[in-house]
Symmetry: C2
Subunit: 350 residues, 2 copies
């Protein structure tokens, strides 16, 4: 019940247990194609280039920026937590002139302020669900105001847990991680990019490993498969299985479950004297941030939850370190029984 | 029996099956520390910063270059196959002036020619075991001639299968992949770097994801653990288990097994009219390249080996496409029974 990874769906173990195939074996390429189809359903997109990047969520962030940012590109970033800050860092290393627009931790990114920050940015970027604060920002409203800019959205903690609609919203590039609401161990970064963004690709990005021009030749599929790097076969087989479990349940059903379980957790925390940290109306169901009452030694109770009850919850980062807990109910972990177990353990300890 | 991935050791499945822990859970950090210790044994190094990079072997190549190459750095690369060529590309994207020294495919890199290519390079790089040709080059002899340069060695297809001795040889930076002679699925890049190279790190490399200064704060361990990116937990648990199997057998025993099985395969191929492609004295036991006799329709027989016998062998790349086979006997796949099964299938088909 930390801020991710959550527990994987049991089906993932069956994916891992499949015999290891070669990365050019037709049988594996079928699994990869199916995985990409499943990702398109979860992203709600028809983008042809939709696939899991061979790295964790942060590699998803890096592939998003290095393929469209040129030296001197103007990149406007909304920052309301750790991961918005990281976007600024990654964009700057790709040579961007970064226009950083800060918002208070616990508050969402304001779409108008973000749009007004620069008259003609090349890229606008924000985090949909900030893992450091438990706040949801309105990506669709930012997309409405993007003008000619490309919009990059970090959906690491949102995909699978709350509505994401890449095509309807008008998001050009988005990435996620497997270990949050998709219910798969960390190691891959689901990624999607539309035609509009593909037309603006950097021809030779600074990263060879994350060069979309080259990777498209392997995952694109239409004109044969040219080897780029060896795909992480087992992780993709695990993702294939986890997405299968998610889609068997149904995407809306998963969103509804995350909401119901998150509400139950928040109610239980408030009843026990915790204050919810994220701004009302913008609280993530899958990640609850709560200010720990001063009467509680947060680090000690957190440690005892782990050692005595096998329950992990996350501490605060940055300005809220030592003050808030971050409690995840993501993917397979989003179960009423887990919330009940956590609250009972908390009652025991307090 | 392709050029990698090979079959994983059965113990790896048990690693994958362990419950998923958080990336800051003390129990997982113990697994990570043990994994790094096991990697030190396999690399034969005491380098403190030895860990699996969160990406495949090509990410290992990229982390090696972007952290020590500055714009204008002179990088001498020995090229005798695909992966030496890839090194030139990765180094150039990091801003290097690349001095490319070509050798015939099938021949090793000549240490003297490499050393004579530039009077004072910043970096010298070569591939220990070329996956595209099945050739071993003499890394120790290059290290003897490196002067003040840093030496980067690609050990993707060598580590675990033939002797590698990072400290004794004087290699400054080396990387590998999990899916070859370590007998683990693809997805991680075992990496090691010595103090001499750490003193020359680029303070802010172009890649945030592969920034060693930041990653060291998580894997370094001595002064607490600062979160950088979420480690690929399950893959690391799998690597931990695979390295356990390898070290239980013993590193020398594994080398000896690879040699014995590779010799058997080469003998069987020669008896059937194949010519060995790699230069004598430089042939890899774990990856045999053989020129297919003109009487054999190589693509058709290769396809039927896969569909009718469940045996994968690799085709040629680049100038030897359609001419050679690349047959792997790596990690758990390096078994006499596999060679016998392959040769029997070949006899059947021919």
């Amino acid at each position: 019940m930390g801020p991710g990874p959550g527990n994987p769906y049991p089906e993932v173990a069956l994916g891992f247990a499949r015999p290891l195939l070669g990365h050019l074996d037709p049988e594996f390429l079928t699994v990869l194609d199916e995985t990409n189809d499943r990702l398109r359903q979860v992203w709600r997109t028809s983008n042809a280039l939709t696939f899991p990047v061979s790295g964790t969520g942060s590699a998803g962030m890096e592939i998003s920026f290095v393929n469209v940012v040129r030296p001197g590109s103007t990149v406007v970033v909304g920052v309301n937590g750790v991961f918005g800050g990281r976007m600024c860092e990654v964009a700057a290393r790709a040579g961007a002139e970064v226009v950083r627009v800060d918002f208070e931790w616990g508050q969402p990114v304001d779409p108008e302020q973000l749009a007004d920050a620069h008259p003609s940015p090349d890229v606008i970027a924000l985090v949909h669900a900030e893992t450091s604060t438990g706040v949801r920002s309105d990506v669709a409203a930012v997309a409405d105001r993007k003008g000619d800019a490309l919009l990059i959205a970090d959906c690491v903690t949102s995909l699978g847990g709350i509505p994401v609609a890449i095509d309807d919203w008008g998001v050009d590039i988005a990435y996620s991680g497997t270990q949050k609401c998709l219910g798969v161990p960390p190691g891959l970064a689901p990624f999607t990019i539309n035609e509009r963004a593909l037309e603006r690709l950097v021809p030779t990005p600074q990263s060879w490993y994350l060069d979309l021009n080259l990777i498209a030749g392997y995952v694109g599929g239409d004109s044969g498969r040219s080897y780029h790097h060896t795909a992480p076969i087992s992780m993709i087989q695990g993702l294939h299985a986890g997405l299968g479990a998610l889609l068997d349940e149904g995407l809306e059903a998963s969103w509804e479950r995350h909401q119901r379980v998150g509400d139950l957790l928040k109610k239980g925390l408030v009843e026990r004297g915790f204050e919810l940290f994220a701004a009302e109306g913008h609280r993530l169901p899958e990640l609850t941030t709560a200010v720990v009452p001063p009467s509680i030694d947060e680090a000690d109770v957190r440690r005892r939850l782990l050692t005595d009850y096998d329950i992990e919850v996350g501490g605060g980062l940055g300005p809220v370190a030592g003050k808030v807990w971050r409690i995840g109910t993501m993917g397979h972990t989003a179960r009423v029984s887990n919330v009940n177990m956590f609250l009972a353990a908390l009652d025991d300890l307090l």
